[in-house]
């Protein structure tokens, strides 16, 4: 779950990481109030995407009238595919220098990794490799102050700045760990008026750990159908083709999409039904697939933890409950395959053994 900049900064504040003075606003009037104490201010669109400045989503203002006007211009507009529902109004700071600081998960090292650079402000992907300080973290000891001092030195931060940096990095790590974050990024971390300040925030929380962070605000970037699927333990991504796909397992679902495309078809979605096959999940899955008005539905099941007879039973039950107005191609092999195929046969439903044949059939049906 990605957090908006203002939410990330509220968390920074809680963890003792300095942020610019200001606050979030949902209306031009509120933006004016937030700007009241600020001489020069910046009004920033709150969307779950970077590069807002280039897209015109950030405005510099002086005085409440300009702040109100800027907020009125930004609120409700669409920016990089996201609707702007809030703006963050903050003091404009005299930036002396910009740094980059992030903690994320390194899958290869199986550890958290700190990334830091004295070339802040731009996308870290565009910073030269030798300008990036990379430091893996041993989770048994976490980020102790010495590590902060070492990184500060490598970034060329000395004296009081090194002390401030060390505090920030240890607190960022505490936040990263306590909140089960996948990413905590400050870009830029600025020097202004002798202080290191987090001028931006990018925080992503591990979806799999949300069960133990019920107090965190909910930020939703998925479509309604995607949310519905997720609530039922299905993994669903909307695409723009006309062949609806349901399979069990992320890898085989991806491969099914690839094969459909290989034979000239267009997948309407990615739907991984995961392990197991309850009637409720099957009904919901079919409901979601049908809501995109596909020309054909392809169900590709290779039973491992999923049992083919459960899939067959669920499909038969759903078919008896509701009309399915498009052809359904079912491929069924694996655990309890014979039972599943026999059940479907009793109900006049033909199944395929081969994924290739099933995919070809689905593509042909979509072209009719």
């Amino acid at each position: 779950m990605k957090l908006f900049e203002y939410l990330g900064k509220e968390l920074f504040k809680q963890y003792g990481i300095p942020v610019p003075q200001g606050g979030v606003a949902g209306s031009p009037e509120e933006a004016a109030r937030k700007a009241a104490d600020l001489a020069e201010a910046v009004v920033k669109s709150q969307i779950l995407s970077g590069k807002r400045g280039k897209a015109g989503g950030i405005k510099f203002v002086s005085g409440v009238d300009e702040a109100k006007k800027a907020a009125a211009q930004l609120l409700g507009t669409e920016l990089r595919g996201f609707k702007v529902e809030r703006v963050l109004v903050e003091e404009k700071l005299p930036i002396e220098k910009e740094y980059y600081l992030a903690i994320t998960v390194d899958g290869s090292a199986k550890k958290p990794v700190i990334l830091a650079s004295s070339e802040g402000g731009m996308d870290i992907e565009e910073v030269l490799e030798d300008k990036i300080v990379r430091q893996e973290v041993n989770v048994s000891i976490g980020v102790q102050p010495y590590l902060g001092r070492e990184i500060a030195e490598r970034l060329g931060l000395t004296g009081d700045y090194a002390k401030q940096f060390t505090k920030i990095i240890t607190r960022i790590y505490t936040m990263f760990k306590e909140l089960d974050a996948e990413l905590v990024e400050i870009n830029p971390l600025i020097i202004a008026r002798d202080k290191l300040i987090a001028a931006d925030s990018k925080v992503t929380i591990d979806d799999d750990a949300l069960f133990r962070h019920k107090d965190l605000p909910k930020v939703e970037e998925r479509t309604e159908a995607e949310q519905k699927a997720h609530a039922l333990g299905l993994s669903y991504v909307e695409l723009d083709g006309d062949i609806a796909i349901m399979a069990n397992g992320a890898g085989i679902t991806m491969a099914t999409l690839d094969i459909i495309q290989h034979y000239g078809g267009k997948p309407a979605n990615f739907l991984d039904a995961g392990g197991g096959a309850s009637i409720e999940a099957m009904a919901a899955a079919l409901e979601i697939l049908l809501s995109t008005n596909p020309k054909v539905i392809l169900i590709n099941i290779f039973g491992g933890i999923t049992r083919c007879d459960d899939v067959a039973n669920a499909f038969i039950t759903v078919k008896q409950q509701r009309e399915i107005p498009v052809p359904v191609v079912i491929r069924l092999v694996g655990t309890n395959e014979a039972e599943g195929v026999a059940l479907l046969k009793e109900h006049g439903i033909v199944t395929f053994r081969s994924m290739e044949e099933a995919a070809r059939k689905a593509v042909n049906l979509a072209k009719q």
Partner: protein, 288 residues
């Protein structure tokens, strides 16, 4: 031979009294796996599929010699169960559970490293040494002995490809599921190293997917360290960037971990990359 597990491996099942645990314990026994006991806190003294249940791993270890443990434990409790198995001194821990928080996975890996334990998964189907031992959830009938080693990031896709191999008359030596999460215990490189040493393995199939750098790292390693023929299949050719395709690891972020990049890296290491899963047996035949 075979890698990691064989007919002598003595297996503990953590969470064996649960629905999945008991079903797959039965399937494993049917395959020939030497399950010696199960653990379910509070269920000690019961018997499941003819095997004794203990409250703790330590208690099971007092009565049995155990080489490997497999976890059928819900995600919120999986870290505890993995720690328990590692701390008890079990050398191979197979974590089937999906949706384990990534911070928990990192802690598990750190503890395993300290104790010299091999962790397979999380979010894996497990591993099979065909005809000898299966630890995990793959459907039994497709895993027949042969000389092809398979290593994969994805479960059902592995069954698909192994079934294609079987249908083409090619059996498998061992099949190892790395797991679909961002942080998992084994890498392609770890398993490729084992297959290279294994006299029963003549050729290797790698099943990868978009996201991360595991395939690129493997390609770099294969160049200098693997003499056996390698065929790869990669899922996610049609996946749009920025969309997480089910697996936590399967996402193209900031232009990294793309299908094209992986194919290029593997091909430059001499690996044959199949366009479709069912082309894998043919490509293997051409190389062997």
């Amino acid at each position: 031979m075979a890698i990691y597990i064989d007919e002598h491996t003595r297996v503990l099942v953590q969470g064996m009294t649960g629905n999945q645990g008991s079903f797959h314990a039965r399937q494993m026994l049917d395959y020939g796996t030497n399950i010696v006991a199960g653990v379910s806190p509070g269920k000690g003294g019961q018997t499941v599929v003819g095997k004794p249940i203990y409250n703790t791993v330590a208690a099971a270890m007092r009565d049995h010699d155990i080489d490997a443990s497999v976890l059928f434990i819900p995600a919120p409790f999986a870290k505890d169960a993995a720690f328990e198995a590692i701390d008890a001194g079990i050398k191979l821990v197979v974590c089937i559970t999906e949706h384990i928080p990534v911070h928990d996975a990192m802690e598990i890996m750190a503890f395993a490293r300290e104790k010299g334990t091999t962790v397979v998964g999380p979010n894996t189907f497990g591993l099979v040494s065909s005809g000898k031992c299966k630890i995990g959830i793959p459907p039994n009938q497709f895993f027949v002995p042969g000389n092809i080693g398979v290593v994969s990031r994805s479960g059902t896709l592995s069954y698909e490809i192994v079934a294609n191999l079987t249908a083409a008359g090619m059996g498998t030596s061992s099949v190892v599921g790395l797991g679909g999460d961002r942080v998992v215990g084994l890498s392609f490189i770890d398993v490729l190293t084992e297959f290279e040493k294994d006299p029963e393995t003549s050729a290797i199939v790698m099943i990868g997917e978009i996201g991360g750098s595991a395939e690129e790292d493997a390609a770099e390693f294969i160049k200098d360290n693997i003499s056996k023929p390698v065929v790869a299949y990669l899922a996610g050719k049609s996946a749009p960037p920025g969309k997480r395709m089910g697996h936590a690891g399967a996402i193209i972020e900031k232009g990294k971990g793309t299908f094209e990049g992986k194919v290029e890296a593997l091909q430059s290491a001499g690996v044959k990359v199949a366009d479709l899963p069912f082309q894998v047996p043919q490509l293997l035949k051409e190389l062997m």
